[in-house]
Structure formats: structure tokens, C-alpha cells
Symmetry: C2
Subunit: 244 residues, 2 copies
């Protein structure tokens, strides 16, 4: 949605390629990732390889090892749920600020338009193309919500959340069949929340907008639960969350 086709620089190729390897599970959580690996896998020199490693470390896909080098970061389900909750906190704040500010009629109109288009898609829900359209519109909604808050700080933070493989509002819907009954229920609820959020913002009901947006984030958790029920392992989630 945001990024069309990225720069064709060596660094970008390395970043995109490496990110792919991590997300599709070729590189398992905990696996060490060294510069030479990038160099030979993507035929780039060490300088862009190093840049790519550094960037993916910021994004949270890698962690710097104590002594030197990087490894694929292991996220637990607990991390995923907490990330979803954190996104809810931030989007809730965005919704409240939007409600408290005067959102331009133009922007409100755009939000309404997206909500109406989503109504359509959710009402149909069958083909695969519908799936990608849902994802796109949903992204659009969250982007507009952020825009309505007119907050650079929230934009920064939410952009960082979205960089994580489970940080996007669409994180787990993409892997589900939207025809399944249980999925449909969540989709319909999510859509009602979308509508209510816009309404709250329009009428300046900050507290309600905040509560709605905060709760809305847990849709992602529900999708994840449905995915878990299907026993489809997600490559970048490490099972056992030991500790305390």
C-alpha cells in the first residue's frame, strides 16, 4: 500500500531478500546471520550487506549478538499478544486525538468511503481477489485513522510496529480463508468497529473512539487464535516462552 516498488539499490535487494528468508522461515529464529551469508546469497558486497543487517535489526527481525554478529530474533506468542495490545493502545490514542481535533470533512469522507467499500467486500467475501482487497482497504482504514490524528509521534511508533511481521492490523487475516464461519464473525465485528470508530470521531466522542480502537486491535489476536486452531505453525513464532 505505502511502498510501491522499492529502490533497486543493492542495499534494498539485500533487505528485501533477507526479510523474505526470515519471514518464510528459511532462517529459523535463533539462527545466526553473518555478513558473508548475505554477500553470497544476494551477490552484493559487504557494505550493503552490513547495512541490511543493521536495518533489519532496527526493524526487530534480528538482534545483535553480545559479542558480534546478528541472529534471527525469536518472538513468542506472548510477544505477539502484547504487541497487538500495544498497537491497540496507540491506535486508541490516535482515535481519541482525532475525535478531539477537528478532522477535516474531506478526511472523514475518505474514511466513510473506505468503510462503505469494506461493507461491500465483507458482504460478498468469496474469491481470492476479495481477500487482497479486504487487506488493502483495512490497511487504508488504519492509515486514515493515523492521518486523522495528525500525530508524527504516533506515526513513528505505529510504523515501527507495522514493520514487525505481526504488527500490522492485517497480520493474520492474510493467512485465513475468509469464508470460514468463525473468521466471518470476526470480520463482521471488525467492520462494525470500523464504522463506530469513524462515527465517534465525527461526533467528537474521544473516550468512545479510544475504547473502540483499543478493542479493535484484538481482532488480530482472534485471527491468530483461529490460525492456531488450524495448527498451522507460523515460522517466526518460537513455541516455548520460558521464564519466571
Amino acid at each position: 500500500m505505502t511502498d510501491s516498488e522499492e529502490n533497486q539499490s543493492q542495499t534494498m535487494m539485500a533487505v528485501l531478500g533477507l526479510r523474505g528468508l526470515i519471514i518464510d522461515g528459511t532462517l529459523a529464529p535463533g539462527a545466526r546471520v553473518a555478513e558473508p551469508l548475505i554477500v553470497e546469497r544476494f551477490n552484493v558486497s559487504r557494505t550493503p550487506a552490513r547495512a541490511a543487517l543493521s536495518q533489519l535489526a532496527e526493524e526487530g527481525l534480528l538482534t545483535r549478538r553480545k559479542t558480534s554478529g546478528y541472529e534471527v530474533k525469536a518472538y513468542t506468542e506472548k510477544d505477539v499478544y502484547q504487541a497487538i495490545e500495544m498497537r491497540g493502545l496507540l491506535e486508541g490514542m490516535a482515535a481519541r486525538i482525532a475525535a478531539e481535533n477537528d478532522v477535516s470533512p474531506g478526511l472523514l469522507g475518505k474514511m466513510n468511503a473506505v468503510v462503505e467499500q469494506l461493507d461491500d467486500v465483507v458482504a460478498r467475501l468469496s474469491s481470492d481477489s476479495e481477500q487482497t482487497e479486504y487487506v488493502h482497504l483495512n490497511n487504508q482504514f488504519h492509515k486514515l485513522l493515523l492521518e486523522a490524528s495528525d500525530s508524527d509521534m504516533l506515526t513513528m511508533s505505529l510504523d515501527r510496529m507495522r514493520a514487525l511481521p505481526f504488527g500490522s492490523p492485517n497480520a493474520f487475516v492474510e493467512s485465513l480463508s475468509l469464508n470460514h464461519v468463525a473468521v466471518k464473525r470476526v470480520l463482521i465485528m471488525a467492520q462494525e468497529q470500523h464504522r463506530a470508530i469513524v462515527e465517534s470521531i465525527r461526533y467528537g466522542h474521544g473516550a468512545r473512539a479510544e475504547a473502540l480502537a483499543r478493542e479493535h486491535s484484538f481482532c488480530a489476536a482472534r485471527y491468530l487464535n483461529l490460525l492456531r486452531a488450524k495448527d498451522e505453525p507460523i515460522p517466526w513464532i518460537a513455541r516455548p516462552s520460558k521464564r519466571a
Copy 2:
């Protein structure tokens, strides 16, 4: 508090040096920062200079320019207030999680110890050394709160906030004379909140802990207001926040 003396690598020297130049205002918001500047200022080669620029961009002190290069990021007061609010959201979540979990008696003991030491410092409050001790203990408190939440995701997010010059719990106290009456009032309130937060966590009162920690973050905003009243300009805050 966390980092003793950083690695003596060229990259670190460049990062530390450049960060200093930005925070003390030598490089004003909006100023362009190019690699050669780092190279000559700190006598490092282009590779660490580039790494330093990249790192400070993640931290939020620089932004990448559209075409190429970096510039010092301009933050407005609005950004600062919203960052404080966001920190409150996250620390509130940390406090609630801590209250809901069973925090080990050892950790609770440490928190109590810090609170008692803070009692002492706040009761005295005169010399300069007291000032640095307050800052240190306050940091300690927030570090322990995060530890009590046992949340990697919150740790990640709050670490990023703290990297901003206004993201630390101590952000503006450091520049105020702790003897001023108005400052003292806030200090005393902050300290009562510290105590109440620990108490709420101990008794498992999640909602109260969350509300307290969230409100507690606004102490930073009060310090900032007091600083503004003194008309002491803060180098890295850009005055006019235009828009909408």
C-alpha cells in the same frame, strides 16, 4: 544507568559525538548532516560515519532526506507532549501487567528500596549531588517497573522512547533547580505516585497501577512547563508547530 562506558569503537565515538552536537544545539533542527562532516569532526572513516548516521536516524534524532543525506529532525512541543503521553500508555501497561503477574518478592523489595531512598532524597533536596542521585533513583524505579512487567515488547518500545532526548522519565527534571517551590511540589507528587504504583502492584490492583503509571508520566510535562516558564529555550525543540 544502563550503559557504563560504551565501546571505544570508531562508530561509537561518532554516534556519541554526533548525538552530543545535536542535543547541545550545535546542529540546529533542520540542519543537514553529511558524512564528510562526521568524518572530519571525529576523525573516523566514512564507514563508521555512515553507521553513526544510520543509527541516529533510527533513534529519531535524524531523518533521511528525500533524495539523499540526513538532517537533524525537528521536534515540536506537540511531539514532546504526545511522546510523554505515549510513554504513559506503555508504562501504564507495564504496571498493569506487573500487578496481574506475580512479581517476585525480591523485585518488589528492590522497588520498595528505591522508593525509600527517593523519600530520603526528596526530603533533603539541596545539593547538586542530590540532583544526580534523584535522577539515578528515578531511572532505577522506571527500570524496575519495566522489569516487573517482564515484557520484552514493552522493553523494546520504551527503550526506543528513552532514546529520544525527551523520552526519558527524567527528561526535564535534570535542567531544573530542585529547590524551586513549584518543582518541589511536582517532585513530591511524583514520589507519592511511585509509592502508590508499587503498592498497587503488590496488591494486584492492575487498573489502579495502570492509571497511576499513566498519570505519572505527565510529571515530565509539568517539568517542561516549568522550564518553559523560565523561558529557557531547549535547543532541539522547534518553536512553531504549523499545520491544520
